[in-house]
Amino acid sequence: MRKIYLHVLMLFAGVLGAQGQIKIKPTPSDTTNYQSRKLKIDEINLVSAYYHQNGNNSAVTGGIGTEKLSDFANTIDLQLSKLNKAGNKNTFLFELGVDHYTSASSDKIDPSTISSASMADTRVYPSLNWTHSNEKTGNAFGFTGSFSTEYDYQSLGAGFNVTRLSKDKNTQFDFKLQAFLDTWKVILPIELRSAASLGNGHESRSEGSSPRNSFSASFSLSQVINQKLQAMIIVEPAYQKGLLATKYQRVYFTDGSLRAENLPDQRYKLPIAARLNYFATDQVIIRAYYRYFMDNWGIRAHTAEIEVPVKLTSFISISPFYRYNNQTGTKYFAPYGQHDPSAQYFTSDYDLSTLNSDFYGAGIRLAPPHGVFGWQHLNMLELRYGHYSRSTGLVSNIISLNLKVK
C-alpha cells in the first residue's frame, strides 16, 4: 500500500521537477500565425481527500452496529494537447486514482477471521479521455476508457461525448454516453454460506461472480443569460442491470430469520438538475444548484446547494457552502427485524431509507499570478472542508485538497 502512495507521490514530484527545469525563453514575435504542434502539458491536477464517517446503522449487520469508515482518496490527472495541421485540437486527459479505505462494518461479514473481505481495501482506477475539438467553432467530440479494481469488484468503462456550441458561443449543448461493465464477487455473511464454500482462503469466501452493468446518457444545455448570469440544465437517465443487491448485507425478518439482501436486478434512474451562477457584485458570486431524482425502486429526492465565493482579493477567495438533501426511501427498505418474511425484495441499508441530510463547510482558493507560495508552476491551490450529518444519525467529515500545476 505504502508503495502505491510513494509511486503516486514520486510521479507527481517528478512531473513537478520536470516542469521546474523548463527555462522560459522569450518568444520571438511571429507574424505568420504559426502555432506549435508539439504535444504539450496543459495542466496537472492532484486531488486528495480524507473522509471519515461514524454512525450506528450498518447494513452489513442488518441495520444496527457501527458504520465507522475512513477513506484516503487520491487522483492525479494529466491534460496534454496537440494542434494538428488543420488547426484542430486533440486533448488527452489521463487520470489515475487510488483510494484506500477501512470499514469496521465490513469486518462483520465474517467476524471469526482476523480480517474479512473489505475490512481494508485499495481501489485503483485509471482512465483516459481523448477529445478532438475545433478551435474556431468550439465543437468537439471524444472517447473515454476506464478501469477500476478492488478486492471484490472490477469495472470496465467506456464513454463517448459531443459538444456543440452556438455561433455566438452563448449556448452550449453537451451529450455524453457511458457504459460500465462490472463484475462483483458474491460474498455472503459467514452464517449464510453453503458448507462447500466454507474454509480458509479468499476464494472459499466467494459464491462466484455476478455482473452489474450500468448505462447512462447525459444531456446538458448551458446558456449565457446576460453579462453576469449563466445557467445550465442537465438530464441524466441511467439504467442498471445485474446484481444490484450487496449480498454480504444481512436482513432480519419479523420471525427472527435472516437472509442476504435482495433487490430487483434492474434499476432506472432519472436525475434532472439545474445550475445558476450569478456574479452579484465585484466580490461576491452566487453558485446555486438543484436536483430532482426519481427511480423505479420508489426513491424520490430533492437536493439543493448554494455556494457563495467571496473574493478577498483578485487571487484569493473563500467559499462557504450549504447542501440540503431530502429523500423518500425505497419501498424495499425496513429497519432491523421489521421485514415481512413473505417479501420478495428487502434491504436494511439506510442509504436507501427515507432521510434528510445537511452538508456545510467552506473552501479557500489561492491562484496568484506568480504562483502559489511564489512557485510559478503551482497555478492554483484549493482547500475545502465539509461536515455532513444525516437524520439517521450518520455523521462524517471530509477535507479535500486540489493542487493545479501549469
Binding site: 481527500a49 478492488e150 441524466e236 434512474k269
Partner: protein, 76 residues
C-alpha cells in the same frame, strides 16, 4: 400522487429550459470577463470530486452533478 409530482417536475424543467433560452441577451466575447471568471464555471469544482463520491454512496439519489453515475465501487 408521486407520478403527478414527477410530471410537474418534468414540466417545470421544460419551462425553465425554454425561459432560459428566451430570456437571454446576446453577450459579445469582450463582455464576458465576469462569465469567464473561474468561480463562474458551470461545472463542479475538481476539489468536490470526493464529496460527490461519498454522497453517491450515502444517499439513494445520484447523477446530474458532474460526478460519476456508475461503475467502479469503493462502496462500503
Amino acid at each position: 400522487m408521486k407520478t403527478s409530482f414527477d410530471r410537474s417536475v418534468l414540466l417545470g424543467v421544460s419551462f425553465f429550459a425554454l425561459s432560459m433560452l428566451s430570456a437571454c441577451a446576446t453577450v459579445k466575447p469582450y463582455q464576458k470577463s465576469k462569465l469567464n471568471d473561474s468561480e463562474m464555471a458551470l461545472s463542479s469544482r475538481k476539489v468536490q470530486k470526493f464529496e460527490q463520491s461519498f454522497q453517491l454512496y450515502r444517499e439513494g439519489g445520484s447523477g446530474a452533478n458532474g460526478g460519476k453515475s456508475g461503475g467502479g465501487c469503493g462502496c462500503n
